[in-house]
Structures are given as C-alpha cells and as structure tokens.
C-alpha cells in the first residue's frame, strides 16, 4: 500500500508545481510539504464517499483545511480521489474557476465544506462539525490541518480551550510544523514555544509524526484514530520540510508563495516521476 501511496504523492507533487507555474501564483512550499499527509488521508485513512458528495457528509469522515493557501495539494488530491475531474486542475486561480486561490464553497467545488484562507478559523468550524456528528449519533471522525505560523492567530487557542472543555474527542487536528512562514523562520517572526507542552496544557492528547515519511504518516494517523473517543481532542504535531520533493525548494520559506519559472518547473518535474498521467 505504501508504494501505491508514494506513487500518488509523486503525481500530486507534479500537479502542485504545474498548477502554480501555469498561473504564476499560488503556494507550492506548504503544499509540497504536506503531500504525504493529504495522500494518506484521502487514499488510506478517511472513510469517504466522493461519488456521493454532499455538504452534510453524515456517515463519513470530514476534512477541513484551515491554512487554505495550500490549496494546490488539496485540489490535486481531491481530483485524483474522484471529487471532480482531474482536467479541472488547469483552471486553478483562473477567472470563472471553482478552484479559487483559497478554497471556497461559493463556487460549489465538491470536497470543500467551508471557505478558508483568512487564518485561524478552520479549527472552530471543524469542532462545530464534530459536535454536529455527535448530535447525529455519527461516529465518524473530523480531521483538520493547520500551519504552524497559523497558531499565532488567537482564535486557534479559543478553539483549543473549547474542544477540551466540551470533550470533542472525535476530532484529529494536525499542525504542519515546518518552522517557516512568509517573513522567515517562525522562531524569528514569532516564536511558537513548546507546542507539545502548550497543547497538552490546553487538554489535548498530543502526538508527533514525521510528515514526509509515508509509512510514518499512515502509522501516525492510524495511531491518532485509536486515540479518538477517549474524552479528549487529538493533536498531531507533524514535522515536515517546506517544499519537500523539489531539492531547490526544500527547507526554506522563500517558496512559501512563489511560483517556479519555466526553467525551474522543468528542473522540478525532472525530480518527480509522472505516475498517474499529468492533467
């Protein structure tokens, strides 16, 4: 299974760099860093029904992307998983597209349940959806992803307190700990401190996961699932490298929101095997 997932991830990375190159805008860095996470979640971990897509999603697991700027990786994975045609990836960030720069429900794109982009809001929304599942007697799980820089938003900590207080134990939140944000390393811009201690103190069960190792991601997400239903929300601190998979983009904030030029695209694609066919 892991080999299959790695093949998908390689194609997803090709989609990401091709999408942002085509419109000379978008966010490749965080997208590349979270490719294993998205691939594992949608192709292995979540119980989902893309063919029966509906907003309420009763009886299936839900995913909320809070750091909406890494839309390229999400769009690629959603299309490769069958939520909408892969050919639609070519409309990313263009006029009249359902694939807006930041994800939205406004244009009716299957797979998206709330708009995100203005940071810090997705955890609250996911918690509400998780509580709705409890009210519906639905034992499915709600997943969320956040950037580490996003933890600088105050609303995240309001949500953290609320989830623990209300024992929202059917949510698995993941923070992409890549240590980078637009203006530089998080430690220079606004130190995040001891995230393990902070989330533990807020009443969450905290796990660590190596986010660019597919086997570790699958094992980590399965371990997190086993921690649900025990009275506490679950937090995965996922270490990744921004720009992972393209050597000259890796480990720097410089590719947070910059698209490759023609030569850079060619160089990037030469490092990423085409496994499922380009869109």
């Amino acid at each position: 299974m892991s080999q299959e997932l790695k093949k998908i991830a390689s194609q997803v990375r090709r989609d990401i760099v091709r999408m942002v190159h085509a419109v000379n805008s978008g966010h490749p860095g965080g997208s590349l860093g979270c490719t294993e996470y998205f691939t594992a979640l949608y192709f292995e971990i979540m119980n989902i029904h893309p063919e029966k897509w509906n907003m309420d999603g009763v009886g299936e697991d839900l995913f909320f992307l809070s750091n909406g700027h890494i839309s390229p990786v999400w769009y690629s994975v959603l299309s490769r998983r069958g939520y909408f045609p892969v050919s639609e990836l070519s409309t990313f960030r263009k006029l009249n597209s359902r694939l807006q720069g930041h994800p939205t429900t406004h244009e009716g794109l299957p797979g998206v349940r709330v708009a995100s982009g203005s940071l810090g809001q997705g955890m609250s929304v996911a918690i509400g959806a998780a509580q709705a599942k409890k009210l519906n007697g639905d034992s499915s799980i709600v997943y969320t992803l956040h950037g580490d820089g996003e933890l600088q938003e105050g609303q995240i900590w309001e949500a953290a307190m609320y989830a623990a207080h209300h024992k929202v134990d059917n949510i698995i939140s993941t923070v992409d700990v890549n240590g980078q944000q637009i203006d530089g390393p998080t430690e220079k811009v606004m130190s995040l401190g001891d995230l393990n201690a902070k989330w533990t103190a807020f009443g969450w069960t905290v796990m660590h996961m190596e986010g660019n190792d597919m086997d570790a991601v699958v094992a980590g997400l399965n371990a997190a699932k086993a921690l649900t239903g025990k009275g506490k929300p679950v937090m995965i601190l996922m270490t990744t490298s921004m720009g992972k998979g393209v050597d000259f983009m890796e480990g720097t904030h410089k590719w947070h929101g910059v698209a490759p030029n023609d030569a850079e695209l060619e160089k990037a694609l030469s490092q990423l095997e085409q496994t499922l066919g380009d869109y």
Partner: protein, 314 residues
C-alpha cells in the same frame, strides 16, 4: 391606524428568548450557542429544556462563530447569542469568511444594540452593526421593533435557509404589535396611510415614530408610516410607492446615519425615485454612559426629533 393598544412593555431580547424556545420545540435541528451572556440574551429557557442542544462557548466570540458555521455541516441551525458589538465588529472576518462567504445557515442573534444599552457606555453601544452586516453578500438583516415582532422574527428565521443577523435590544419598550403576527422576511409593515410625508422607522424608533405621527396628524400633517423590520433585503416596492405618494421621506433608527437604514433608503430612492429626505439617527459620533432615555434624547433619537425632521421637509 395609530391608536394602538399597548399591552404592557417588555424587552425585545425576551421576545428572542421565547421565540428561540418555541423554534427549538418545533425543530430538533435548532441549537443554541452563547458567549457567557445566557441571562442577558434570555437563552435560559432554551438551555434548560434542551441541554444537549445548548453550547456554552465562554468569552470567545470568534470561536463561537466558527463552531456555529461548523454545526451547519450536519444539518443543524445554530443561533448564536451575545451583545451586538461582540456579534459583529469583534468577529467580522469570522462572519465574512466562515458564515457569509460559505453561505452557512447561522442565525447571529444580537442583543443590547445601540444607545439603549445605556450605562455601560460607548464601548458596548454598537451603532455600526447594521451597516457592517448589510454589506455582506447574502446576509439577511432584521431589526424588530417590540417583543412580539422579535419573537415572530426569531421563529421566521429558523425556517429561512441562509445566514441572518437579528438585532434587538436591552430596555423594556411598549408592546404594540400583534402576539399572533406572521413575520414575513423582507416585507415592510405599512402601519398607517397618509399623503404629506413618509416616516420609515426600524427597531426601537418605531414606537417613537408612531408617537410622532400622532402629534403630526393632530396638527394636520398626514403621515404615511412604514416599519422596515428587514433592512436587507429591503422592501424597495413599499418604500418607492410611499415616496411617490408623499414626495418627502424621514428615516429613523438607533444606528449611525452613515451606512444604516437611512443610507440604504436613500440609495434605493436615488435609484428609483429621487426624493427629499431627512435622517434621524446618530450623526457620526460614539455614545456614552447614561440612561437609555437620556441618551436617546441627547443624541437626537426622540419623538420630538422625528417631528423636527418631518417639519424640516414640509
């Protein structure tokens, strides 16, 4: 007909509380959220009858808006409760992205709007909320005038799919609308027919407008009186029909003139039937501490101010 039977007085927030309880009984999908103001918002009865469908959020309004948006995913109809200031200005971006742009079926229920919040002063007296909410695409904005109309509006928005801002207040005010009224979102209430001047009022200013109309009628001025309870979508037809009849329009609201009912009526008339207008509202200033009556007088929101505005057009 301006000869209303007043059936006592009560606060509009109590109308919300009763409406929410009844909406909860009618529809098991109705849920309540409150940011540490259960008593002020009169949400106690709902909380007691439906403890599993009520969520205390604490003093964290941004999170409340997000949680409410999320609860709609799964089919619930969340009613959020806090003061109008914390329901709008404090959480504008949360409402904009997670509720309005995402078209979530959230009912933002806001008490203590305007100057009549009283002694707490300007930090809590929001006078810009109607404008902020009306600017959001797809947002319905409602500002009922008394206990019964607020209760009816609360029931009506539970049956309406889409985001709604419901604005009400703190003080006890006369009850003069029918207890069994049917509330039609977007449909103005034509209170009294007249030919010389139109008064268009919303919220707490409706009763003051009725009193002003009584005085004006006694003095020989015929008043066409309209209650706009739904500020968005605005009942353009009712406004234009009246303006065509009288040629003079006064608006009255407990809100900034800038961006409120007056601005929206002016925009409507500029487009469809340019008409001489005068505006009763707060004129580009913050409020202050005081009793509701003192504040309404000092800031020009009294019955005599409506009469004065009418006379400025005659």
């Amino acid at each position: 007909m301006l000869d209303f039977q007043i059936s006592g007085s009560n606060d509009t927030r109590s109308g919300f509380g009763e409406g929410l309880l009844e909406a909860g009984r009618k529809n098991p999908k109705v849920v309540g959220l409150c940011a540490d103001l259960i008593g002020s918002l009169k949400m106690d009865a709902f909380m007691k009858e439906f403890p599993d469908r009520f969520f205390q959020v604490g003093i964290a309004e941004a999170n409340m808006m997000g949680v409410a948006a999320g609860m709609t995913v799964g089919g619930y109809i969340p009613f959020t409760g806090t003061f109008a200031n914390f329901s709008t200005g404090r959480v504008y971006d949360q409402i904009r992205q997670s509720i309005a742009y995402s078209h979530k079926n959230v009912k933002i229920c806001a008490s203590h709007a305007g100057l009549t919040l009283g002694e707490d002063g300007a930090t809590h007296q929001i006078l810009e909320d109607i404008g902020m909410m009306a600017m959001l695409p797809g947002m319905t904005v409602i500002n009922p005038c008394d206990f019964h109309q607020t209760k009816a509006a609360t029931l009506a928005i539970a049956d309406h799919h889409g985001p709604v801002y419901l604005r009400f207040g703190r003080p006890k005010v006369p009850m003069f609308t029918a207890p069994d009224q049917k509330f039609e979102i977007g449909k103005a209430w034509h209170i009294h027919g007249g030919k010389d001047v139109t008064i268009i009022a919303t919220g707490h200013l409706v009763w003051k407008a009725i009193e002003a109309a009584k005085t004006l009628e006694a003095e020989g001025t015929s008043v066409d009186l309209i209650n706009i309870h739904t500020i968005k979508p605005l009942d353009i037809e009712a406004i234009v029909r009246s303006a065509m009849k009288t040629g003079k329009v006064v608006t009255a609201e407990e809100h900034q003139i800038n961006g409120g009912l007056g601005s929206l009526v002016a925009q409507c008339l500029a487009q469809h039937h340019p008409t001489k207008m005068a505006f009763v509202g707060v004129n580009d200033s913050f409020g202050e501490s005081g009793t509701p009556d003192q504040l309404m007088e000092k800031y020009g929101l009294g019955t005599k101010d409506i009469i004065k505005a009418v006379k400025s057009l005659l």
